[in-house]
């Protein structure tokens, strides 16, 4: 032993147990904290999030900035692109376009959020029960799902809209009527994978009810995929709403949604292209942002899925 440093005798005294560095636990990291860190690292997703927040802020604050409202008609100033006070000009009935765009954006988002909420409620329950109970229950529920899937959803939605009164809730219901199917599939696949995990067996050996296992053990472990599915179902709801309004099955005037505004603008496209441009731009930003956020969330909440 010819160590370079001089060794003192006292260094060879035994350590008391308290002097030892006892077991150090891994740093406390929550699932959400971790996910947020990964989300932040994704520039696109962050841009999407910032855009959505900005858009929502403007949608609520913007209309306060000029004294008009979305429904008052004034034919004497119809189709004016540049008019003081009217930031985006006026439409063919002389309504303020700035007001109408933000009002429409709020309505479109509201419809989308209600539809997405209904998707979650129906999809998670259906998919959860189907996946958890399995066997015959699952086969029957799967056949229902396949039938739902095989009918073109546009046809279903159009048929529904012919029966329902046009309004925000009916449109959301019509969109959710077929929109929950992908959610149910995602949830079922996850539950099928998780239900054989030993912690589920442990809960069963302690006498936990099916309800408890499904909603206290399984669903909380599927929250990530559910959130991801929601962020993708919102833009698709917005798109379908716009489509419905565009073909004249959506909201009725003077109510506005982005789809109605696009439709109105489209009629006068050749003369007054700005009336199509602004609502279309807002629609695009919303769609793009939600898709960016969805991609970011997928990487953040489910890192295994990434490539």
């Amino acid at each position: 032993m010819n160590s370079t440093k001089k060794l003192q005798k006292s260094w060879f005294e035994p350590l008391a147990p308290s002097e030892k560095n006892s077991e150090v636990l891994a740093p406390q990291t929550g699932y959400w904290k971790d996910a947020w860190r990964r989300f932040k690292a994704n520039k696109g997703a962050l841009i999407g999030l910032v855009l959505i927040i900005l858009l929502l802020l403007i949608a609520f604050i913007g209309p306060l900035l000029n004294g008009f409202d979305y429904s008052t008609q004034n034919l004497s100033i119809s189709n004016q692109e540049h008019l003081s006070g009217h930031f985006l000009g006026t439409d063919s009935l002389g309504r303020d376009l700035w007001q109408r765009v933000w009002y429409g954006a709020k309505v479109s988002l509201l419809i989308a959020f209600i539809a997405a909420f209904l998707d979650v409620v129906i999809g998670v329950t259906f998919g959860g029960i189907s996946g958890y109970f399995g066997g015959r229950v699952d086969s029957v529920m799967q056949r229902i799902l396949e039938i739902m899937y095989s009918i073109p959803n546009i046809v279903v939605i159009i048929l529904l809209m012919m029966y329902l009164e046009p309004g925000i809730l009916p449109i959301a219901v019509a969109l959710a009527f077929t929109g929950w199917v992908p959610m149910a599939r995602v949830v079922r696949a996850q539950i099928l994978k998780l239900k054989t995990q030993e912690y589920v067996l442990a809960a069963r050996t302690m006498g936990a009810s099916h309800f408890r296992i499904l909603f206290k053990h399984l669903i909380p472990n599927v929250v990530g995929p559910i959130i991801i599915a929601v962020t993708f179902s919102i833009p698709s709801a917005i798109f379908f709403e716009a489509f419905l309004s565009f073909i004249g099955l959506g909201l009725r005037s003077p109510a506005a949604s982005l789809g109605i505004l696009v439709n109105d603008g489209y009629r006068t496209l050749q003369l007054f292209p700005y009336q199509l441009f602004w609502p279309a731009l807002v629609l695009c930003i919303i769609m793009l942002s939600f898709n960016l956020i969805g991609d970011g969330l997928r990487d953040a909440l489910d890192p295994k899925m990434k490539k």
């Binding site: 032993m1 060794l7 260094w11 060879f12 350590l15 150090v24 891994a26």
Partner: protein, 336 residues
């Protein structure tokens, strides 16, 4: 005996965005021609990473060899190009893994896989290679090899796949065979068959074998020499008998004592090592075993002990070997 593989001062680090894991922290050892050396350690001790980095099987990044030399037959293989390394891999040094299913290609017939690795390293026709594949399958004890050669890996059972994997590794008669937990996934009866096979093959071919395992029972069956790894370092190395009957490191004592022997009486508790291995993100400055060691001294926390020789073949890295330290005997009553 001529040394075939000499590794000195090997450091390997895994870097990710947020932290670095110092997986190998200065490892030195030599493998001689024709010997079987077992590397023992718990998961995370670095036993597999050591050899995966020698074989350059770790993706870089995140893995990186920070320091150290690896001499294969006197040539430093950390410096050679990937093309040259490919010539060594398979032909000179071959490797078998714990899970043969992930190392055999499921879409290619077993015989063809063996033949292809032969053709890569040797000038043989496909027919010659395939005939040799049948011979190899026969040699590793696969029944009706001429039919088995045309089957796919999924048609083989776990034990058979491991045999096929061994046949593939032996195809080019490598000088060194690295077996990374080759029997861990197998049942006891099959494990015994594979160990017998490896022992027989070693006697016949005279190649060296590195046997990586966590199971001291398997070590006792197969090894000539043993290296005990802990937290990215080799803490003790010696001949089989030295490690089992005259161990010097408290970690080795703990490992040996925590395995029940078939003749263990039931009234006494198993000796266990308290706690669990340290994190290698921020490895301790001193001896990594300090926190779990019943004999830990002040110096152990401060400084990594140097490697001392207990005999020509037996080396220990522990402060208890220092003349100033209190005399501690192996607490397990010597079994012989």
């Amino acid at each position: 005996m001529k040394p075939i593989l000499e590794v000195s001062d090997l450091h390997v680090t895994f870097r990710s965005e947020h932290h670095e894991v110092k997986a190998i922290r200065g490892v030195d050892f030599t493998i001689h021609e024709g010997e079987v050396v077992a590397f023992v350690g718990e998961s995370g001790s670095g036993k597999s990473v050591t050899f995966q980095s020698i074989m350059r099987l770790l993706p870089q990044p995140p893995a990186n060899i920070d320091k150290g030399t690896i001499l294969y037959n006197g040539r430093d293989i950390t410096k050679i190009s990937e093309t040259e390394m490919q010539k060594i891999r398979g032909k000179e040094i071959a490797m078998i893994f714990q899970d043969p299913m992930t190392s055999l290609n499921p879409t290619i017939r077993v015989g063809k896989q063996i033949a292809e690795s032969l053709m890569k390293h040797q000038k043989v026709t496909y027919q010659e290679a395939k005939d040799r594949a049948v011979e190899l399958l026969k040699m590793v004890g696969i029944p009706s090899p001429s039919e088995r050669v045309n089957q796919y890996p999924h048609q083989f059972s776990g034990g058979m796949r491991q045999r096929a994997m061994i046949a593939m590794a032996l195809a080019c008669s490598p000088k060194l065979l690295i077996a990374d937990e080759p029997t861990t996934a197998l049942d006891v009866t099959i494990q015994a068959q594979i160990i017998d096979l490896l022992k027989d093959l070693q006697t016949d071919t005279g190649s060296s074998i590195v046997f990586i395992t966590h199971d001291l029972g398997v070590v006792a069956e197969i090894a000539d020499r043993v290296a005990v790894m802990y937290a990215g370092k080799i803490v003790e190395t010696g001949t089989l008998d030295e490690i089992f009957y005259n161990p010097r490191h408290p970690y080795t004592w703990g490992l040996l004592a925590s395995m029940p022997r078939l003749d263990q009486t039931r009234d006494q508790d198993l000796a266990s090592i308290p706690g669990s291995p340290p994190s290698l993100v921020n490895p301790p400055v001193g001896c990594p075993f300090t926190a779990r060691c019943p004999y830990a001294m002040k110096i152990c926390q401060e400084q990594m002990p140097e490697t001392t020789k207990a005999s020509d073949s037996h080396q220990v890295a522990c402060w208890l070997q220092h003349p100033d330290s209190p005399k501690v005997e192996n607490p397990i009553v010597s079994r012989r």
